[in-house]
């Protein structure tokens, strides 16, 4: 595997792809959003249980590539127990980072999500990683309107 590919499919990504966290429906979800990537037909549903402006639980479901599955799996881990405001800030920071020039600085506070950085060098695959976050931000925006 060459360098660019190794950066895109880091072991963290492959591990989450093979065994994603919180994959499947969330029975007591209070909100959920399904988004489709028209390029590849992938679909992801992000479901959350919001309790007093905090994300008490988060699951994802759908069909997607390794990058999309890993991104969604990482998302479910990083937003659980967080306030809606904190999640919104994290989501925007991550989306800005993933859409930035590959040479740009890594922002603080994104933790394991740094593993998604490889998509910055693959513009045609960026949406795979951002799709779950776009769905989550839609939920957060709706919940705080």
């Amino acid at each position: 595997m060459n360098e660019a590919l190794a950066k895109l499919y880091q072991e963290v990504i492959l591990t989450h792809h093979r065994k994603p966290h919180h994959f499947g429906p969330l029975p007591d979800a209070t909100q959920q959003v399904r988004l489709v990537n028209p390029l590849c037909g992938d679909e992801v549903t992000i479901a959350v249980r919001i309790d007093q402006d905090t994300i008490a639980a988060c699951h994802f479901d759908g069909y997607g590539c390794a990058l999309c599955r890993a991104s969604a799996s990482l998302l479910t881990l990083s937003v659980r127990g967080q306030s809606l405001e904190a999640v919104r800030a994290l989501g925007h920071t991550l989306l800005t980072f993933l859409q930035a020039d590959p040479a740009s600085q890594t922002p603080e506070g994104i933790g394991d999500l740094i593993a998604l950085c490889g998509v910055r060098e693959h513009p045609s695959r960026r949406r795979c990683a951002t799709l779950p976050w776009e769905a989550l931000l839609t939920i957060v925006d709706d919940a705080t309107e």
């Binding site: 060459n2 590919l5 792809h17 390029l39 590849c40 037909g41």
Partner: protein, 413 residues
Amino acid sequence: MIAAPLDFYARRADFPALSHHAAHSGDRRPLIYLDHAATSQKPQVVLDRLMSAYIERCANVHRGVYAQSEAATRDFEGVRRQIAALIDAPDSQSVVFTKGTTESMNLLAYSLGQCVVQPGDEVLVTQLEHHSNFLPWQELARSRGAKLVVAQVDEHGRLSPHAIAQKLSTKTKLLACTHASNVTGELIDVRSICQLAKQHGTITIIDGAQATAHLPVSVRELGCDFYCFSAHKMLGPFGVGILWGRAALLRTLPAWQTGGGMVLSVRETESDHQSIPHRFEAGTPAVAEVIALGAAVEYLQGIGLSVIAAQEEILRTETRARLRQVPGLRLIGPEGPGVPVISFVLDGVHPHDVATALAAEGIAVRAGLHCAEPLFAAMGVRGSVRVSLSFVNTIEEIETLCSALVRIGALFR
């Protein structure tokens, strides 16, 4: 393996892009291009003709009286005759230049559709179609209050004349069907389908985008009313498409776009339109690109489309056989005659991950739904990796592809 009819290795040198290094791989390996169904690579003779058209005869056609314009007009109209000969059309006035197959289809849906489709009529398409031969008809049916009827493929994606026959009736005003699938490569028995359609008085429109680079086409033998294809998929430049129609029918159709070049006279309240083909060519056409298409046609005919078809059939058969040896790989689509387009899924690996991993090794393929969502829905498949070949591909390239696929399968599972 059967001996190839020609030394096609020698032909690779005609295509400058094939000796370029793969952009993503970061190494010195040349590009392995297996995405000819999306667009073909262009031989040097086409690039030369394009350049010379821009240098020596960069003038508008059918307008100027100076040498460059007259030369451009002569060459432009010469290509019209070349195209007519290529598809065995009875005359060249029934060859219309468009932007591409998509525009050809939209022209027909608008111009022909408004003439012949009335509320309550039916427009027949198939599940096999590329969106560009599906959406214009869906939109036509919606706007005319007609019914879009979709002929079904079987679970392998096979489209039989029987499936068409089941849906044809006296209400069926139009039938739009592909000559070859852009997903599975399946070659459709267009001749039988057109005979069936004729029995019901149905006008036939054939999408030849995936056929004209790969096999000899005779619109006379096929018996269709319209045949559409794109220059860029048959070694020619981007931005040029062809619409061929039976002259008697084409003459009855109104213009779909108006503007310069398509009128005889213009008065303040009305105007008189040109006859075919110019009535359908409003505005300045892609003059140099059409002229360069002439070089592509000469190149294809220089080798011979029957020879190309024979060579590509060997490649297609070998590729399918070798892909089958890759662990966890499943070919999508029916067995049988086809153009060299092959779809597959790799167990446990998403098609886009396969394509990205192949790109890192300098191998260009396509992944996803290939603008053919109804077909994937019918086959119950979420997407595929597509390898589309041309006579310039080699068995060595296929071996490289297959060994990469074995490694990719192991990486993701």
